[in-house]
């Protein structure tokens, strides 16, 4: 057996995944959550995230190899996120992965975090002629909300992005307003199930824009203002109205971008892709929608191994790969131009 080991330490979870180098199948995907470390602070504390990655990285890798039924002797290549993300956290995974790859005589692939998300749902099915069709890719997570046009050569060009908070970040912040703790995104979605989205009117962000950007900060503020004015509002109704507004903004923009770019295939990745309301709304668009399998939507190491395996944004210059530094701010299309 030959495998690719991938690691992501871009934010607050330590993820190591193992992908079969022959088939591209995900053999293991272990994510050590740091939620308990950061919960008392109501958000991710970068210094603590870095320390925690360093503390657990060996154990997470050992568990992933054991889950895959593989050993270090089977590791053909090691892939690590080099950006964007928290610089101290990135440096732990990047340095560890380079050293592991070098020690094993394996190849090393620095991977852009968003290339990992794009890879998480696999490549699109070939069209009737056997070519890879273009598609729109929506990355919606706690750290990113961007819309990419991905061409047949799998080159991504950003066509829209959040001007302020990421979609997942907005979920977490509104969850905190409602006293749901951190990270509250999933708890907010659970609460919204029992609420009436039409009971509370919230402003729809960037309504009428010609472009494909997103904005969630004003929506969060609108929820805060409503809560302050009317503390007795049923939290479930507020949660449902908020969730419905976010889903509407994401899906409407995606649908409009698909029409304008003449594509009928979309892939939706990142932690928010796990949201049940979003998935239902996507299914109603008539677009051909792919989402990542369970466990690959939120940050993880398997998607980094998958990106390396699919060759997404991978540099051909092996010597340069060994000298790659962490890049905390790094647009995906700028990274792709630098690599080509």
């Amino acid at each position: 057996m030959r495998v690719v080991l991938g690691i992501d330490t871009s934010c607050d979870d330590t993820g190591v995944g193992i992908v079969d180098a022959a088939s591209g199948a995900v053999l293991a995907n272990v994510v050590a959550s740091q939620d308990a470390v950061h919960a008392p602070f109501g958000g991710v504390v970068p210094e603590r995230a870095s320390r925690e990655h360093l503390r657990v990285v060996d154990d997470v890798a050992r568990r992933a190899l054991a889950d895959a039924g593989a050993t270090l002797d089977d590791v053909d290549a090691v892939a690590a996120t080099y950006g964007p993300g928290l610089v101290g956290a990135l440096l732990v995974g990047l340095s560890w992965a380079k050293a592991l790859a070098w020690a094993r005589g394996a190849r090393f692939h620095p991977v852009h975090h968003l290339a990992g998300h794009l890879a998480s749902a696999g490549p699109p099915d070939p069209d009737a002629g056997g070519a890879t069709p273009p598609e729109l890719a929506l990355v919606a997570s706690g750290g990113h909300t961007s819309l990419f046009l991905v061409d047949g050569a799998r080159h991504a060009r950003e066509v829209g992005r959040s001007r302020d908070d990421a979609a997942g970040e907005a979920f977490d912040k509104v969850a905190r307003l409602l006293g749901l703790g951190f990270p509250g995104g999933p708890a907010l979605a659970a609460l919204a199930r029992d609420g009436d989205p039409d009971a509370v009117a919230l402003p729809r962000p960037l309504r009428g824009q010609a472009g494909y950007d997103f904005s969630f900060s004003g929506l969060k503020t609108a929820v805060a203002v409503r809560l302050e004015r009317d503390p007795d509002l049923p939290p479930a109704d507020l949660a449902a109205a908020f969730e419905a507004t976010v889903v509407e903004a994401l899906v409407d923009t995606l649908r409009r971008a698909a029409r304008d770019h003449g594509v009928d295939r979309v892939v939706v990745v990142g932690g928010v892709a796990a949201n049940a309301h979003l998935r239902a709304a996507l299914a109603d668009t008539g677009l051909r929608v792919r989402v990542p399998p369970a466990g690959l939507a939120t940050d993880n190491g398997a998607m980094i191994a998958l990106a390396a395996w699919q060759g997404l944004g991978v540099t051909a210059d092996a010597a340069e790969a060994w000298t790659r530094d962490a890049a905390p701010y790094l647009p995906l299309d700028a990274a792709a131009r630098a690599a080509s």
């Binding site: 210094e47 870095s50 440096l91 340095s95 560890w96």
Partner: protein
């Protein structure tokens, strides 16, 4: 030829050295890399092994400087050491990052206070004596006001901004407790 690797990235230098299993220094590199540790570490490691006429499979133990020093630098060093030890299947240990500086700066019989700037008027400081056989750490590293350290150790040699010699790390007994960065 089994070799032990010593590695320190806690300051502006990337310090690497290898010693044989009898504790004899074989090769070392001390490059001023500023904040470029993550970029330079693998090429420098390869250059070090070339200097030593050795291969990566000759590395039989790794000892890393655990600080005190730059948190970011420490993370690069300790994460690298962990990846190397896991990948090579060899023992991993940690030791003070100020000791390699003392080793580089002090002559046998000399006592020195090794200090490293810790910002806001503070320094990391430790007191070392170089003996014919090695180093004695009389006071372990602490973070203290620069003036207080100067007043307290006026009789010892003041050692600051001296590049470390990772040979000291490469000649520690291999293994020990897993290296934990010292965050002072």
């Amino acid at each position: 030829m089994p070799l032990q690797l010593g590695l320190d990235t806690s300051g502006p230098h990337l310090a690497l050295a290898v010693a044989d299993d009898a504790g004899h220094p074989i090769a070392r590199r001390t490059d001023d890399v500023g904040r470029g540790h993550a970029e330079r570490i693998v090429p420098t490691l390869e250059a070090l092994l070339a200097d030593a006429g050795a291969e990566r499979r000759d590395l039989a133990a790794v000892t890393v400087g655990v600080g005190p020093g730059s948190y970011t630098g420490l993370r690069v060093g300790v994460a690298t050491a962990r990846g190397l030890a896991l990948g090579l299947g060899v023992p991993l240990g940690g030791a003070s990052s100020l000791a390699p500086v003392a080793w580089a700066a002090l002559a046998p019989g000399e006592t020195g206070v090794v200090v490293r700037d810790a910002r806001r008027g503070n320094v990391y400081a430790a007191l070392f004596e170089r003996t014919p056989d090695g180093l004695i750490e009389h006071l372990p590293a602490r973070k203290r006001p620069r003036d207080a350290v100067a007043a307290e150790h006026g009789d010892a040699r003041w050692v600051e901004d001296v590049p470390p010699d990772a040979t000291w790390l490469a000649t520690r007994p291999p293994g020990g407790a897993p290296p934990e960065p010292i965050y002072l």
